[in-house]
Amino acid sequence: MSAAEQIDPSIDHYLAEFSRIERDLPGSDDSKRVRSTELKRFAETGFPTVRDEEWKYTSLAAVEKRRFEINDESAAIDKSALDAFMPKGFEAHRLVLVDGYFNAGLSDLNDLPAGVTVRSFADHLRDNAGVGVKAQEVDDEPGSLAAMNAAFFTDGAYVETASGAVLEKPLHIICVSSGAHDDRMTQVRHRYVFGENSQATIVEHAIGLGDKAYFANVVTEAVMGRNAQLKRVRLQEESERGYHVSAFFGQQRRDSRIFNHAFDLGGRLARIDTNSRLVDQNAEVHLNGVFVPTGRQHMDNHTMIDHDTEHSISREQYKGVLAGHGRGVFNGKILIRKDAQKTDSDLSVDALLLSDKAEVDAKPELEIYADDVTAGHGSTVGQLDEDAVFYLKSRGISEEGARAVLTYSFANALVEQLGIAPIERYVEATLLKKLPGGEAFADLA
């Protein structure tokens, strides 16, 4: 057997694709070397398969079968194409990426406060030879897809906050896959570097237009200085044939806080890995997530909170609503290392099955090596309360309407914790639209 034949044909394609575009990728020569190493790391394992414990319930066979290509440029899209995705009344700085490239025309970064940098990550790499494609502070970015992203990413958002800087208005990062061509991939990488005592809210909004198949692979790195605070919202609205993979790597110094709110509403398949490492005392991370696979959608959330040292806090709540043939997966790992005494952590995942064809696997996974910790966890999978359905019907509300209203109220308990009213309304309205009979109750939002 020749060496060429041993190479997985899919990997072969991506190696060739890398050679094709390598020259145009942003970054110094050092960066290029890192990209090549990451490409090798990806090539060694290829796409994850269901034989991999971490991917047991999520098959990427449909992704592997295709031959996705990097876009050479962003498609020209009209501002109005994004109107439907703009939460009403949401005042924000805006950074728009189309097909993997920063689009200045659609962005609005004019009135950033002093001490806050928000720019194209590609530009930042071109201007600063010393900046690497992977954040030095993030020790490890496991997984072949993160490696693929490090090799291929074309652009992203770079956010840096100086010590004490506060971004009053949120930053709205919109990552659009235009669907102008078939089988394209959007490889995007964001980096947030938070100085001491700085604070910002960042909304990462993934949008798919059109009906072409595409692959969006997003990596976000957040390096949190002492007492810094990030509120991060992931709003995923890929289109029907969009495959979405997203990984977050947080690194938290003393007293820093991350509030992460994820809303997965779109896409054919979505796999989200949310990781945070609490390396110092009193660091705090909150992960909230709502995932709503309906039709034939598949959504898989994996989270990993690594309590490294004493007195750190994690709170995690996920809610899944599964309808039609929807498939959901949740795996929440909490690692409490030997030195992480006095860790205070809690995790809950609740899923609501609206159809007998829908399916969910939800599992908290605690690994505890310290002996003086508080670590609560719970998981439930249930159906709507039939007494409540009957109660609403007895008041004149239709069967479908009653189910939509109750489902909404189940998920909304988490949406309401976001604390950004325009986005709450937007998510609520989108959620109601997804639920059969929900549209009649649009004014609930």
Binding site: D385, A388, F390, Y391, S394, R395, G396, I397, A402
Partner: protein
């Protein structure tokens, strides 16, 4: 208003109603009493359309229509209201939202336009005052963190808002202090009119002193074994349900 004929019903194969006959003319208030487990809530639930009970025999006509063939929401739109013995909590959906949705569902069913927001709030404020609730409570999730008594007040509030033709109140008076009881009985009396009928399921004469019924029926082991005027409540209070078995024997012979 409603005519129940030889109604038999079972749940999971177990017979619960064993031939109920009951006639409630327009404008009348009837009370149903009877020991625990005799089937009162089952009867009330069947009238409201609860599906877990299987009707094996008999019929129910409501305003000339076959009630049992209608869906629960359709019945509500036609003016049937059930006050629940155990009202359900629905966090995240406010009481007011539910009522507006319910009123609009009814209006849509009758081909009428949606209720005007200002009119709705005015009407709500008025009825809230009648039942001694606060606007703050009305804006909270349906029955969310309400005490037992507050839930019952809320049922009456809903009833007053929805103005049903047939109100079936399942122990809305149970577990209430005297003030709350007055709210409930005032609410019922307010609703009384020649075109509305009320069924009061109760264990206590107390309510019937405030809302004097036209008839009282005793349900025992799934059958109406005795009917009479308001004075029957006194007899039942004095004698309990002990003599009912003999009555039942007499009724079936």
């Amino acid at each position: 208003m409603i005519s129940i004929k030889n109604l038999h019903a079972e749940v999971e194969g177990k017979p619960i109603l064993r031939g109920v006959d009951l006639e409630i003319p327009d404008g009348e208030v009837h009370a149903i009493m009877g020991p625990n487990g005799s089937g009162k809530s089952t009867l009330a639930s069947i009238l409201a359309g609860r599906e877990e009970y299987e009707v094996t025999q008999g019929s129910v006509t409501y305003k000339g229509q076959e009630l049992l063939e209608m869906d629960p929401d359709e019945r509500a739109c036609e003016g049937v209201f059930l006050g629940f013995q155990y009202p359900v909590e629905i966090p995240g959906v406010s009481n007011l939202y539910l009522l507006r949705a319910a009123l609009n569902a009814r209006r849509k069913y009758h081909g009428e336009p949606e209720i005007d927001a200002v009119d709705f709030m005015q009407m709500a404020q008025e009825k809230i005052d009648h039942v001694g609730m606060s606007m703050e409570m009305a804006k909270r999730g349906v029955n969310e963190d309400f005490s037992g008594g507050e839930k019952k007040r809320n049922e009456i509030f809903q009833m007053l808002m929805l103005e049903p033709n047939l109100a079936i109140l399942d122990e809305t008076d149970s577990g209430l202090d005297i003030d709350a009881l007055k709210v409930v009985s005032d609410g019922i009396n307010r609703l009384r009119s020649p075109e509305r009928s009320v069924v009061l399921v109760t264990h206590y004469k107390r309510l019937l002193e405030h809302c004097v019924p036209d008839r009282i029926h005793v349900l025992y082991q799934g059958q109406i074994v005795r009917s009479g005027g308001p004075e029957l409540a006194d007899t039942l209070e004095a004698e309990g349900y002990a003599n009912l078995e003999t009555d039942e024997a007499a009724a079936t012979s």
